[in-house]
Symmetry: C2
DNA sequence: TTGTAAGCGTTATCAG
DNA sequence: CTGATAACGCTTACAA
């Protein structure tokens, strides 16, 4: 019914295997027949059946993407489209296709991954988030199935190929940026401690504080459940301390937007009354009021390197496990200034 | 090497075909052997090879997603993660998997689609954007391959199954909302006219204006290349007209954020000096300053219905072409107010 | 350099 | 209700 390799063979007057070899661009086939076959393919509008090919060759030239739970608010973060672009570019360069799995719960996700792996739909998997206790990782490791993680694994750091930023360093840099501006009362606002990024960034913050000889105040640290209600409260409480911070590092621009909002309601001006450094340098950092100084973590590159190294791993099965660190840099905009010389009035 | 249907057959003491039937849950197989086989599968950890299955059955239980060009800034819009959630939910309900294609240019995208369709990787395709002259649509139509479009097709509206909002109506509603508040000088800010949504929304705006007997001013209409530089200029110019608008409808929240920004720089307050209605009701509409009144177009539902109806089409080949219209509603927040009684000072 | 033929792991058509 | 056996469309030794 559909045009197959045999039809092409007949038309070109060669054996099916020859056609197959032409497709694979085998070096040991005469230029003459190559042309003949190619023309026949053209004439018939031939396209290889990928299922047949995959079945016979035991490989698929496809990567599986594991997205975070779709119930997660974080899913809305523009981080994902961007990282996806990177992955896609890396894959396309090597002619790999992308297969996607999502799910509403951890269990659904794991099931989808198993189906796709055991079903031999993909040759490797890239994980878009690293959670603290990740069953998907355990599964993949146990089966020795090629995969790479975007972010840092919770454990077995040495045994899992991953691409990540140096988040400790990045947040340390951000904090020190504020310290250099003259701030010493610096608050930290981060997301759930279930995410490794948060843990790392918090650590970087602490390092900077300690290193500068500022005393670390526990009440300067907030973990809001991303944004929404809870966050508002927390920020409010923070600003009503007797000595509220004069600067804030926020672990994500999206979150920073919410913070900006709350601050505005409280009548606190940015950057006059308080300075803010965001993270990720999302497009919306530019669009915020005021435009946010933010740490650019090169999201696209994160994705690009992930698919690149996954493909390497697939094509060379005993590639060593690697850890790729993507660089970051602070992008200065208008949300930071030197602290007021006088004590900031509160209450 | 891998455990196959044959291994299961041997262990369960039945023929391979029987195992296959058990997998398909064929009604004409005794409960006894069903159990026996299932246990064998369990014991061996059997998982069907999907490539083999697809090859033999001439169908894949997979949907293809066609994303917009990754070079597009619009790709960053949180619209996509959300619509994807909807698609994914609809697919998962019917046990369909998702295959994704992207590309940096229209050509790359078309090639990817052809490969995936002819390669028989998917049973149907959902298109996430509708462009004015869409080669992908032409291709799919010519091959009579099942697909559904999210948005409105440029032509052949009657022959293409699509799920969309009534964007004309939605924008008319938004505009009339402002009119009811007392505004008569209302500006329109939209994206590229290459996108059908923009065309529709512009039309809705015009309808409302005409219907209210307000005279339509051409200089109240702006098409910025989404956001960035160009947009800023345009908004600036708009506000420096002798009679600047007292209200603005903006075709996308993301864009509205940029507008808000420019307005702020100009020292124009929202909603005191000017009212704004956004579109799409993205998460960030809530986080904007002030929180944006926005038209919720039910993005998730758009995706959900798309995959649902695509699957219907796949499973019942002569399903009639359908047009699904998803409802919208205005979500009031703080970006609108009645116009100042006095003329707004400009300069 | 090219052809022959045996898989790859399922499903589906016949019989029985 | 169950078992042979022929596809499905391609790759890949092994021959020639």
């Amino acid at each position: 019914m559909n045009v197959t390799i045999k039809d092409v063979a007949t038309l070109a007057n060669v054996a099916p295997s020859t056609v197959s070899r032409v497709i694979a661009d085998s070096p040991r086939i005469s230029e003459a027949t190559k042309q003949k076959v190619k023309q026949a393919m053209e004439e018939l509008g031939y396209h290889p059946n990928l299922n047949a090919r995959n079945l016979a060759s035991q490989s698929t030239k496809a990567l599986g993407l594991v997205m975070p739970s779709s119930k997660d608010v974080g899913f809305q973060n523009p981080f994902f489209p961007t990282v996806l672009q990177g992955i896609s570019d890396g894959a396309q360069e090597k002619n790999y296709a992308l297969h996607m799995t999502t799910g509403k719960s951890e269990k659904e996700i794991l099931d989808a991954v198993i189906q796709m792996v055991q079903g031999k739909r993909v040759d490797g998997v890239v994980l878009l988030t690293s959670k603290v206790k990740d069953e998907v990782i355990s599964y993949l490791k146990a089966r020795e199935f090629p995969f790479v993680l975007i972010g840092k694994p919770y454990k077995d750091v040495e045994e899992i190929t991953h691409v990540d930023n140096d988040n400790v360093r990045a947040m340390k840099d951000a904090t020190e940026y504020l310290i250099k501006l003259g701030h010493s009362q610096i608050g930290f606002i981060g997301g759930s401690l279930d995410l490794i990024v948060t843990v790392d960034r918090l650590q970087g913050y602490k390092k900077a504080i300690v290193h500068a000889g500022i005393d670390a105040r526990k009440d300067y640290i907030i973990h809001q459940e991303f944004l929404r209600e809870g966050g508002q409260e927390a920020v409010r409480a923070l600003m009503q301390l007797e000595h509220p911070p004069s600067a804030l590092v926020v672990a994500d621009d999206f979150m920073a937007l919410g913070v900006l909002n709350t601050l505005d309601e409280l009548g606190i001006r940015v950057p006059e009354d308080i300075s803010i450094v965001g993270f990720n340098n999302l497009l919306l950092a530019e669009l915020a009021k005021p435009p946010l100084t933010s740490v650019d973590i090169n999201i696209f590159e994160l994705g690009y390197q992930a698919s690149k190294s996954l493909i390497q791993k697939i094509e060379n099965r005993n590639e060593p496990t690697k850890r790729l660190i993507i660089s970051h840099r602070i992008v200065e905009r208008l949300s930071c200034s030197q602290p007021n010389s006088g004590e900031m009035e509160h209450k």
